[in-house]
């Protein structure tokens, strides 16, 4: 288990990132709403729902194959938007989940989305389905569902592994328009190869801010950009330090040794005392 005192530099750095994000959230809550650039994958959501509505076929949503975590909660945020739009046009939806915890929460979220649109009668409890908690049994079930129901649009958002390509290729074979987004960098290439629109990397977390334009979410998004700038600064600084000093074998520079000091809080204090 990791602790802050394993590496004090990381703990301070995390603190700095949190402060940057919080400052931007507070500024945004006070009315300074930032601009968010166009994200094609998220613009395609309405297009995909529209197509499913025209064809009178269902929309399929999968919030990854892991359990309840930040990633699946973010996927549920996007699926709430999808469900509300689908509810307006009475387009049927199917949501398949691979985790029992997520299943109960998904049911609640989808039911709330129909109620929020004033159409609770359209909610079908069987539209949210727990298929299996085993990876390939789930993949087989989803592939079967796509084939049987001939879904018109698919949304794969969340944590995916080897089954990602099975979903995307089967959906492609029935001609479904596909929007995918995952935080798993190993699966992003598969989605790019097989899907129509892909949300890459942190665009996945930008989704709720982009769709809702809600101040907290948009402020947080800008805070993340500032945090990235800080991260970039330290990457460049680290590269320069490493190049100049050849750290771990180079000349003795106390300040740099303090920066890279191993050990807990005591080691940090010792290094600072050593500096003066």
């Amino acid at each position: 288990m990791q602790h802050a005192c394993d590496n004090w530099f990381v703990a301070f750095f995390e603190g700095a990132l949190i402060i940057l994000i919080m400052v931007r959230i507070i500024k945004s809550m006070r009315g300074s709403i930032p601009f968010i650039r166009r994200i094609p994958g998220l613009n395609a959501i309405d297009e995909a729902i529209g197509r499913a509505t025209e064809m009178g076929k269902p929309i399929l949503m999968i919030p990854g194959i892991l359990g309840l975590d930040i990633v699946s909660l973010q996927a549920l945020n996007v699926f709430t938007h999808v469900t509300r739009t689908a509810a307006r046009f009475a387009t049927p939806i199917r949501m398949c989940v691979c985790d029992a915890t997520l299943y109960t929460i998904s049911q609640e979220v989808i039911q709330d989305a129909y109620q929020a649109e004033g159409k609770p009668e359209l909610y079908d409890p069987d539209s949210v389905r727990f298929l299996s908690d085993q990876q390939f049994a789930f993949a087989a079930s989803v592939a079967g569902l796509i084939q049987r129901e001939q879904v018109a649009a698919t949304f794969f958002l969340g944590s995916f592994f080897a089954e990602s390509l099975i979903f995307a290729e089967v959906a492609n074979s029935v001609g479904a328009i596909q929007v995918a987004g995952t935080v798993m960098t190993t699966q992003t290439p598969f989605f790019i190869a097989a899907c129509d629109y892909v949300i890459i990397g942190d665009e996945f977390y930008a989704a709720s801010a982009y769709l809702s334009k809600e101040p907290v979410a948009t402020g947080s998004l800008v805070g993340q950009d500032y945090a990235k700038l800080l991260l970039t600064f330290f990457i460049v600084l680290g590269s320069i330090i490493y190049t100049v000093t050849g750290y771990a074998g180079g000349p003795h520079v106390p300040l740099i040794h303090t920066l890279f000091a191993d050990g807990g809080w005591n080691a940090l204090l010792h290094s600072i005392r050593h500096l003066f």
Partner: protein, 271 residues
């Protein structure tokens, strides 16, 4: 390190009954709460849970002997494997029952109403029940006939594992069809993708034979296909992936912070 003893004999049934009773009372009370009170209560619980992990991470540690290995711990570390993880497992098990109930209900209705493809639903019901019966019989009851183990072995290792492997092997064919579509040269970007993929594929397979005569030292080594392949992987691909990972990590941090502080809006958190 303190480990909880598993209760034996009748005590375990009493413990299970007690836990179920308390769980249903809590769930009942929660469902009776009005929505205006339920959300602040959940936000408070989320904050306390998050605070626990934050404190566990930031508080100073001291080395403790655990299973013969010195590990850094503080006053909260011990609670994670002994209380929090078992609680999470119990909750997952309870919710798994709900998931299983939903699955069985959908397929039972398919069979009862003889909807299209009801035979598949029947196969699912029979296979699920068979695995449950023989699984419990084989694992939970020590005094069972030998044939029960054999049936369980045939069902799990003979049928389930092979079908799982068959699904996995399908990916190879899907990779072929997906890469065919992705690599069709339709644009400048697709051409770059195609060329890079070809170089990496050659570099990792038999491409070395093409540039076999080129010396693998000095300036000439830059003209070997393995060098190009590893350059694309290490200089172009890896930094790109790491940059995406940084963005994803920051996104997770920001969202975690919003949820922890109860300022997140949207699904589950209210508009």
């Amino acid at each position: 390190m303190h480990n909880w003893e598993i209760a034996q004999g009748n005590t375990i049934w009493l413990a299970i009954a007690g836990v179920l009773l308390v769980t249903f009372i809590i769930i009942g009370l929660l469902t009776k709460l009005p929505l205006t009170l339920r959300r602040p209560l959940l936000s408070f619980l989320v904050f306390v849970s998050g605070l626990f992990y934050a404190l566990e991470y930031f508080l100073p540690t001291h080395p403790v002997l655990d299973h013969g290995v010195m590990v850094p711990e503080n006053i909260l570390t011990d609670l994670i494997p002994n209380i929090i993880n078992p609680l999470a497992q119990d909750l997952s098990a309870l919710l798994f029952g709900l998931g299983l109930f939903s699955l069985m209900r959908i397929h039972f209705n398919n069979v009862a109403r003889q909807r299209s493809g009801w035979v598949n639903s029947l196969a699912l019901l029979v296979s699920t029940l068979s695995m449950m019966v023989f699984g419990f019989w084989s694992r939970a009851n020590l005094h069972h006939p030998r044939w029960v183990d054999q049936v369980y072995h045939h069902l799990f290792d003979g049928v389930y594992q092979n079908m799982d492997a068959a699904m996995f092997s399908l990916i190879a064919f899907f990779i072929l069809s997906a890469s065919y579509r992705a690599f069709r040269i339709r644009s400048f970007e697709a051409s770059i993708l195609m060329t890079s993929a070809l170089i990496v594929l050659l570099g990792l397979s038999f491409g070395g034979l093409i540039t076999d005569k080129v010396p693998d030292y000095g300036l000439w080594s830059n003209f070997r296909i393995e060098t190009w392949s590893s350059w694309i992987l290490n200089i172009i691909s890896s930094p790109g992936l790491r940059a995406i990972d940084f963005g994803v990590g920051l996104g997770g941090l920001a969202m975690g912070l919003r949820i922890w502080l109860g300022i997140e809006k949207g699904a589950l958190f209210g508009d």
